[in-house]
Symmetry: C2
Subunit: 368 residues, 2 copies
């Protein structure tokens, strides 16, 4: 009795997963984390109005969500000042990345990203049989001119470019991005992952005509809006590309309460401003704690800070293990030389206190 006949591509894929979740780490270590600072979630939470709206809507969970996400898209269109048909709402940026890669990338198609950038994007490219070309970071920053040059070399269909960057927190100015567009090869789409845009200085957000067919942008309610567990992201770009998503997406994939919560979150920009203030304060605190321990924190336009541990990847991995072992969930870059850093998400005073308490011990342990 033979088993099912997977496609050759499905057979060839590795069993690796992009990230091990903190819950699994907690189960493995037999204890909960004291501070959850590893996934760039917003421990400050969503708008109280969004929480209230979601709680009030829970009784409606027997109904499917609106497959068009009409109300949320209407509000996003007003917020972004773009036409509604230029907006696609999906199951987080992770889900949207999967759809976009599926639309563009078939077996052997080439794609360009930075070496050390978002692994889930790479996972989707591999999952659809694409060939990934990687460009090194330059001074801990994604190198847009190099990405574009590589795309020209390999005739890439798609460039992944996160701004601000994860995992380093660095950023490119909007003016530089706007200028670089003229160098994009014909038929190459620039995917701007702006998951952290709400934390970035205004100068880091480019002004690009939404109808420009060379670019698609993605943002999320997971970071600034504090709703990672809700799975709501959105893409915006030229209508022909956005329309193509509707040919393949899971039309009934959105959680109804999450749609309602995202709408309420969007409408509470005062809460977002409050979170931004908290994040600025916490970035300062992480920087201070790092300095107290003789480490330097990198500048960040996000809700996390890359802390340079001052040696190589093995040393940073030992520091990270020491933090995790002491109940502080953090992550770190995967690739040298960025893997000399650990990546610490912003948090409340108690989260910072847990980090401050664990770091000296983790460092001492790593140095032994």
């Amino acid at each position: 009795m033979t088993g099912p006949r997977l496609t050759p591509l499905a057979q060839s894929l590795p069993a690796t997963v992009p990230f091990v979740g903190p819950e699994e780490q907690e189960r493995n270590r037999g204890a909960a984390f004291a501070a959850r600072l590893g996934a760039n979630e917003s421990v400050f939470g969503p708008s109280p109005g969004a929480i209230a709206a979601m709680q009030a809507a829970t009784g409606e969970i027997w109904m499917y969500g609106d497959p068009t996400s009409h109300d949320l898209r209407t509000a996003l269109a007003a917020h972004l000042d773009v036409p509604m048909p230029c907006i696609m709402v999906g199951e987080g940026i992770d889900g949207l990345l999967g759809y976009l890669v599926r639309l563009l990338v078939g077996a052997g198609d080439t794609v360009v990203t930075s070496d050390g950038a978002y692994p889930t994007f790479n996972y989707h490219v591999a999952g659809f049989g694409g060939v990934l070309h990687k460009v090194p970071y330059a001074q801990d920053c994604e190198d847009l001119p190099a990405l574009i040059a590589k795309a020209r070399d390999v005739d890439a269909k798609l460039i992944y470019f996160a701004n601000p960057d994860n995992p380093m927190g660095s950023w490119t100015t909007g003016a530089e991005i706007e200028a670089a567009l003229t160098d994009l090869p014909e038929g190459c789409l620039l995917l701007l992952d702006e998951a952290y845009a709400e934390f970035a200085p205004e100068e880091a957000v480019p002004r690009i005509d939404v109808h420009d067919p060379r670019v698609i942008r993605m943002r999320t309610f997971s970071k600034g809006y504090g709703m990672a567990g809700a799975r709501v992201g959105y893409a915006f770009g030229a209508e022909p590309l956005i329309t193509a998503f509707h040919k393949i997406r899971n039309h009934f994939g959105m959680n109804r309460v999450a749609q309602i919560g995202a709408l309420a979150a969007l409408q509470d920009q005062a809460w977002l401003a409050h979170v931004r203030d908290e994040v600025v304060a916490s970035r300062g605190e992480i920087t201070r704690i790092a300095a107290e321990n003789g480490l330097s924190a990198l500048p960040s336009a996000t809700n996390f800070v890359a802390v340079d541990c001052g040696r190589d990847g093995d040393f940073a991995r030992a520091v990270l293990a020491g933090l995790v072992g002491r109940g502080v969930f953090v992550r770190m870059p995967f690739v040298a030389p960025q893997d000399r850093c650990i990546r610490v998400s912003c948090g409340r005073a108690e989260d910072m206190a847990a980090f401050a308490a664990a770091l000296p011990e983790a460092l001492a342990e790593a140095r032994r």
Copy 2:
């Protein structure tokens, strides 16, 4: 300036969508529906304990869900009495169908389903370039022997078989399904969509060893458990196939509050029994209302009833239009001769009253 280069497959796909949601119909008609009986949602709602659990967990929405759905899978493993690695939790059966088709179906691969069965499955097969072969219903029932014979003829990798069936509400006995397995061609997977299993008589649910590589089964929290808006479904089958899902799925695709709600819903089997009683009563009521209007209702093992309007598809479509125009959201089969019916979901007394009030007028209008 050319646009992005979509894959030839993506370019070739039509812009059609499987279903237009009731919210869009409400916007088009400029008024809300008085009764929402078209999507086989459970208007009886989820367990009050599940609602309470979800409301209590809403404050945690800043955290991503557990990518392994560990707690829910643990509970499902106990509930189904199968090993946990044989269970995959995903974004509703719709999401799981997409993953399964992606694993098995490449360009030109053949798949078999019933003509008039679930359109979203067909959508996914087309979306991955598969070739769909359709077998007619036999006496308003999906015809498993004919599906298997067709699969042998066309060397199908996959058979879709919903039991109980949607949209007709009919069912095949478990014993018949078990017996049919011996006729399955080598390397052909039988996908059992059991979305309505919680409403079915025990004799309609087959006993199949979970390790049997010839079968995968899918169930959902959208129907019996009343959580359609939460997007939680699960598949169970032999471990090698379930493991393959992890190579391609959106690992962080599950809503955290939905995971918690589904767990609480599963633990309240008394509520499920209550809903089952309500559904039995409502099926009786739909049957009575149909008979009062000279129509015959088909037997149903689901939370909806197909009502035979007694003429052809054009007539049933006119009846449906009359109901929708009077604020009663219902749907109907797409294919003759099943499209002589309308499909009415079970509901509360007030929903049934709205249906009972609208049906005579809709019929009179359709007959003119």
